[in-house]
C-alpha cells in the first residue's frame, strides 16, 4: 500500500499535465496509465495525424512545385513510410513524457485503475492511498448504432491512421474535425473520398461561413461531400464495404467511422461511488470537482469539447485546486479549436449563428487580398472576426486557410484579455505576414479596410 497526495488516472495531456503541476506545487503524485504515456492525443490522435497530414501536404506541394519554378520529377510516396514516420513521432514524444514524469518525481504505475473507495485506487494487486484522485481517462470512439468498427474494412481512428494500403474508394462517416482531417489526408494521396454528414453542414461545430467555405474547398479537391445525409446501412462484404445512402447501395474499399466520442469510465467504479454522470461524461464543477469530494475529473472524460488543450488547462485548474490555490475556472467560450484539414480551420468564441438578435459587427477578410498569401500561393480562405457592435468587444474569430492554426492564438490572447477593436487596431502587425489579414478583418468589421 503506497500513499500519495494525488493519484492521477490516465497519462494523456490532461493526466500528465495534472501530475506535473501537482508535483511542482509540492505534492507527491502517482500516475496510472494502462497503455502509453501521452494518451490518445499523443499516440492515437493529434500528433500522429499531424504527421500524416504533414506528409500529405508535402506531397501535394511537390506535385505543384512547378508552379513555383521547381522541377520535381517522378514524385511519389510510400504509405508505409508515411505511417512509420507518424509512429516515430508518437513514440519519441511518449518517451519524452516518461522523462518528464521522472524529472518531476511522479511514480508511474502501469495497468488498469479502479477507484475502490474515496482515497483508494487499485492498480493490479496494488492499492494506492491518496487524498485526491484525478480522473483523466479520456474518451473512446462511439460506434454508430449497430455498426461497429471491425478493424478490417470498417475503421476507427486508429485503423485510419495506420493503413497498410491506400483504399481506392473511401467512405468517411461523420464530418467533424476528425472526419475532415482524414478526408483531407486520403484525398491528398489519391483516394476517392465520400464524406458523409448527417447535419446540414460539415464541421457542425464551426461558424456557418467556415463550414460553407470548407465544404466548397473540400469539393474543389475532389471530395464528394454529402450533407444532411445519414448512413442507412454499412456492412463488410468480401474485402469491401457496402454502404446504403439515400436508399442506394454503394461499394467502398474502406469506411472510417468518426461520429464522436464518449467518456471512458468503464471499470473505474465511479458509478458505485455515486459520481454523477451525464450522457457518458463525468459531471464536474468549475474547479473540476466531481459530485464526490476528493475525486476530480479533467479532459475528455469530463465532457466536450474533447480537445487536448482543454484537458491540459483543466489539469492546471484541478492541480491548483488540490494544492489549495484559487484559480479561475474554465472559461468555455475561450477555448480555441483547430482542424488540420486542407485548408486548415481555426476558431474561438462566438459563432455568427449563435448570436441571436445581438447586434454584431463582422469582418470577413479574404486571404487573396493578403500579400504573403499570394506569394505562397495559399490565397484560399478567409478571416472572420465578430464584435459586439455596442461595446466593441471581440466575441469570436473564425479562420480558414493555410496555416491559420498558427494564427488563432493571437485572437485567443485578445479575447482572453477582453480586448476591443481599439487595441487590435492599435497593434502593429508585421509585414509581410498572413497575420496582417487578422487586423484587416478587424478593420473591415469597422468599415475601414485598407486592402479591400
Amino acid at each position: 500500500m503506497k500513499e500519495f497526495d494525488v493519484v492521477v488516472i490516465g497519462g494523456g495531456p490532461g493526466g500528465y499535465a495534472a501530475g506535473i503541476r501537482a508535483a511542482q506545487l509540492g505534492l507527491s503524485v502517482a500516475l496510472v496509465e494502462r497503455e502509453a504515456l501521452g494518451g490518445t492525443c499523443l499516440n492515437w490522435g493529434c500528433i500522429p495525424t499531424k504527421s500524416l497530414l504533414h506528409s500529405a501536404e508535402l506531397y501535394t506541394q511537390m506535385c505543384s512545385a512547378s508552379d513555383f519554378g521547381i522541377e520535381a520529377k517522378s514524385v511519389g510516396f510510400d504509405l508505409s513510410k508515411i505511417v512509420q514516420k507518424s509512429r516515430q513521432a508518437a513514440d519519441q514524444l511518449s518517451q519524452g513524457i516518461a522523462q518528464l514524469m521522472k524529472k518531476n518525481k511522479i511514480e508511474v504505475f502501469t495497468g488498469d485503475a479502479s477507484v475502490v473507495s474515496v482515497g483508494q485506487v487499485q492498480v493490479g494487486d496494488q492499492v494506492l492511498v491518496t487524498d485526491s484522485i484525478v480522473i483523466a481517462t479520456g474518451a473512446e470512439q462511439k460506434s454508430l448504432g449497430p455498426i461497429a468498427i471491425d478493424g478490417q474494412q470498417i475503421w476507427g481512428a486508429r485503423e485510419a491512421m495506420t493503413p497498410t494500403a491506400l483504399p481506392a474508394r473511401l467512405l468517411i462517416v461523420g464530418a467533424g474535425a476528425i472526419g475532415v482531417e482524414f478526408a483531407s489526408f486520403y484525398r491528398a494521396l489519391g483516394s476517392a473520398v465520400t464524406l458523409l454528414e448527417v447535419a446540414p453542414n460539415i464541421l457542425p461545430a464551426e461558424d456557418i461561413d467556415i463550414s460553407a467555405l470548407a465544404a466548397e474547398a473540400l469539393s474543389q479537391r475532389g471530395i464528394n461531400v454529402q450533407v444532411g445525409q445519414g448512413l442507412e446501412g454499412l456492412a463488410s462484404v468480401a474485402g469491401c464495404v457496402e454502404a446504403t445512402i439515400a436508399g442506394e447501395t454503394l461499394e467502398f474499399d474502406a469506411a472510417i467511422l468518426s461520429v464522436g466520442v464518449a467518456g471512458r469510465v468503464q471499470g473505474l467504479g465511479l458509478e458505485a461511488l455515486g459520481v454523477t454522470m451525464n450522457q457518458g461524461f463525468v459531471v464536474v464543477d468549475e474547479r473540476q470537482q466531481t459530485s464526490v469530494p476528493g475525486i476530480y475529473a479533467i479532459g475528455d472524460v469530463a465532457g466536450a469539447p474533447c480537445l487536448a488543450h482543454k484537458a491540459t488547462h483543466e489539469a492546471m485548474i484541478a492541480a491548483e485546486t488540490i494544492a489549495g490555490h484559487f484559480v479561475q475556472g474554465l472559461q468555455r467560450d475561450r477555448i480555441p479549436g483547430c482542424t488540420y484539414s486542407f485548408p486548415q480551420i481555426a476558431s474561438i468564441g462566438l459563432r455568427e449563428q449563435d448570436a441571436g438578435d445581438r447586434a454584431l459587427r463582422i469582418g470577413r477578410f479574404p486571404l487573396y487580398a493578403n500579400g504573403k498569401a499570394v506569394v505562397s500561393g495559399h490565397t484560399e480562405g478567409m478571416i472572420k472576426t465578430i464584435f459586439d457592435s455596442k461595446t466593441g468587444a471581440l466575441l469570436g474569430a473564425h479562420l480558414i486557410g493555410d496555416s491559420v492554426t498558427e494564427l488563432i492564438q493571437g485572437f485567443t490572447v485578445a479575447i482572453g484579455l477582453e480586448t476591443t477593436e481599439h487595441e487590435l487596431l492599435e497593434t502593429i502587425f508585421p509585414h509581410p505576414t498572413v497575420s496582417e489579414a487578422m487586423q484587416e478583418s478587424v478593420m473591415l468589421a469597422f468599415d475601414r479596410p485598407l486592402h479591400l
Partner: protein, 463 residues
C-alpha cells in the same frame, strides 16, 4: 522556461504577504541558495533563497500585498534568453489604495546606478508630451525628476512613479479620477464599459487574474451617473489606511475573541515597595547580564501563580477543558505596524534572570522584525503591559484560545494605613481578563491574589 519565484507560504494561517525587499536586483544574477527576497507577513519576516542559478526578473514590486503562492518573479537559467520587456505571466498588481509608506524623494527612487537628471545645459527639461500632460494633472514638478527615456528624457512612467513615491496617501486625492483608473488593472472592455456607464473602477473588486477587473465585474457595480442623489457630503475623509496585513489579523483575532468567549475583567492592587527594592538590587547584581523589568517580575509571578491555579492555564472547548502542563507566556509587544505576541517558552522552568534575558531578546526581535516562527507558537497565557503609558486599569482581550490575559499597569504612589496613619507606598494595579466559560469569578480572584502576593513578597520569585 523560466522558473517561477513564488511568495512562500509560511504556516497554515498565512493569507497574505509581500516581498518587503528584493535582495537580488531585477535583471541581476543569483546563485542557488543565495538570499533572494525578504518575505513579510503579518507574523514573520523571512528570507527566501533561490532554488536555482540564473537571472532574476521581478514581476511583483516590493511592498505589494499578495496571496501566498503568487508569482513574484522568475529565474531564467543561464542558457535562457531574458526578453528585454519581460514582465512575467501577468504584470504586477498595481494597488492604488496601498499608498507607499516611505516618502522617498523621487530622485532616489530610480534604481539606475548613475541617474541621469533630465536637465540639459541650457536648463530646458527633456520630457515627452504625455509626461508633461500627466505631470500637469498630478501636480508633479518635472524639475529634479530622473528621466528613464533616451538621453534622460522624462517619460510618462517617470511621472507616475514620482507621483506614487512622493506624496503617500495624499496621492489618492491628487490623482484625477481618470488617471487613477488607469492604474487599476482592468480589461480594455471593462474600461470602455466603465467609462460609458460612469463606473469608478477603483471601487470594484476584480475577479480576473490578480484581481484584474473584467466585464462581468461591472454588472453589479453602482453607476454614479445613474444615481439621482448627489454624492453624500459627509465629514471629509482626510486619508484612508488600508486594513491589511497585521492590522487585518489583529482586527479579525480581537473581534473573534470577543465574539466567541465570555470575557470579563477585574483589577487588584499589588504592594510593590519590596519589588522596587528587589529590582534595584538585581539591576546592580546582574549588571550587563540582564535588566529585569517590572513586567519580568510579573511574568515570573504569573508563572508561579499559574502553577498553583492550573485552570487559568487551560484551553476551553465545548466538550472539555484541557489543562496545559507547560506554561508558554505570550508577551504583547507594540511595533510600529501594530502588535506582536512573541512567546517565552516553558516560562515555569526559567528563573527570573533567564526570563529577563528572553523577554528582552523577544522584544528586540519583534521590533526588528526578526522573530522566527517558533517565537510565536503555542502561548498558553498572555501578559500585556501598558504601564509605561500611565495606564492604571484596562480590559485586555484574550489571545485565543487561551483562558486568561493579565494587564500590567503603571507603578504609582499609593497609600496604605498603619493604624490611623497614612503611609506612602509603591503600588501597581493588575488587570486580569479571563474566560468565564472556563473559570468562575472566585477562582479567578484567587489566581490574581496569588500573583499579587508573589509581587508583594518578591523574594519568593527568586526561589
Amino acid at each position: 522556461m523560466p522558473r517561477e519565484i513564488y511568495l512562500v507560504k509560511v504556516g497554515m494561517t498565512m493569507t497574505e504577504g509581500m516581498v518587503s525587499e528584493w535582495f537580488i536586483a531585477d535583471g541581476a544574477a543569483v546563485k542557488k541558495g543565495e538570499m533572494l527576497y525578504s518575505l513579510e507577513t503579518e507574523k514573520v519576516n523571512l528570507d527566501v533563497d533561490a532554488e536555482m542559478d540564473g537571472i532574476v526578473k521581478h514581476t511583483a514590486e516590493a511592498g505589494v500585498m499578495l496571496a501566498p503562492g503568487d508569482v513574484v518573479g522568475y529565474i531564467f537559467a543561464a542558457d535562457e534568453e531574458v526578453p528585454a520587456d519581460f514582465s512575467g505571466v501577468a504584470s504586477p498588481a498595481v494597488a492604488v489604495v496601498d499608498a507607499p509608506k516611505s516618502e522617498v524623494p523621487a530622485a532616489a527612487v530610480s534604481a539606475a546606478p548613475e541617474p541621469i537628471v533630465a536637465e540639459t545645459i541650457d536648463g530646458r527639461l527633456k520630457s515627452s508630451p504625455a509626461a508633461r500632460r500627466l505631470a500637469g494633472e498630478l501636480g508633479v514638478t518635472l524639475v529634479g525628476l530622473v528621466g528613464s527615456g533616451p538621453g534622460g528624457r522624462i517619460v510618462e512612467a517617470d511621472v507616475s512613479e514620482a507621483s506614487l513615491q512622493s506624496s503617500g496617501t495624499a496621492m489618492t486625492q491628487a490623482i484625477s479620477g481618470q488617471t487613477q483608473e488607469a492604474l487599476v488593472k482592468a480589461s480594455p472592455l471593462a474600461r470602455r464599459l466603465a467609462a460609458e456607464r460612469g463606473i469608478d473602477l477603483s471601487r470594484i473588486q476584480g475577479s480576473g487574474p490578480q484581481g484584474r477587473i473584467v466585464q462581468g465585474d461591472l454588472d453589479q457595480a453602482p453607476s454614479s451617473r445613474l444615481s439621482a442623489t448627489p454624492a453624500q457630503v459627509g465629514p471629509l475623509a482626510g486619508s484612508s489606511v488600508p486594513v491589511r496585513g497585521m492590522r487585518k489579523t489583529i482586527a479579525q483575532r480581537m473581534h473573534q475573541s470577543l465574539q466567541t468567549s465570555a470575557q470579563l475583567s477585574m483589577d487588584m492592587t499589588a504592594q510593590m515597595d519590596d519589588a522596587v527594592r528587589l529590582r534595584g538590587q538585581l539591576l546592580k547584581e546582574w549588571d550587563g547580564e540582564a535588566r529585569p523589568s517590572y513586567t519580568d517580575l510579573v511574568i515570573k509571578a504569573v508563572a508561579k501563580a499559574l502553577g498553583q491555579h492550573p485552570m487559568m492555564n487551560s484551553r476551553f472547548d465545548d466538550t472539555e477543558i484541557t489543562l496545559l502542563r507547560e506554561i508558554h507566556m505570550g508577551l504583547a509587544v507594540s511595533v510600529p505596524e501594530g502588535l506582536l505576541v512573541p512567546v517565552i517558552r516553558n516560562v515555569h522552568e526559567l528563573d527570573l534572570k533567564e526570563i529577563a534575558q528572553e523577554s528582552a531578546r523577544l522584544a528586540t526581535a519583534a521590533r526588528n522584525g526578526t522573530l522566527g516562527l517558533d517565537d510565536y507558537a503555542g502561548g498558553t497565557f498572555t501578559i500585556s503591559a501598558l504601564g509605561m503609558f500611565g495606564v492604571n486599569s484596562f480590559t485586555p482581550i484574550i489571545n485565543q484560545p487561551q483562558t486568561g490575559i493579565l494587564g500590567v499597569n503603571q507603578l504609582f504612589d499609593g497609600l496604605t494605613w498603619d493604624g490611623d496613619k497614612p503611609i506612602k507606598t509603591k503600588q501597581m494595579n493588575l488587570s486580569l481578563t479571563w474566560d468565564h466559560r472556563a473559570v468562575d469569578g472566585a477562582p479567578a480572584a484567587e489566581f490574581l491574589a496569588s500573583v499579587v502576593e508573589f509581587l508583594s513578597e518578591p523574594y519568593r520569585l527568586l526561589l
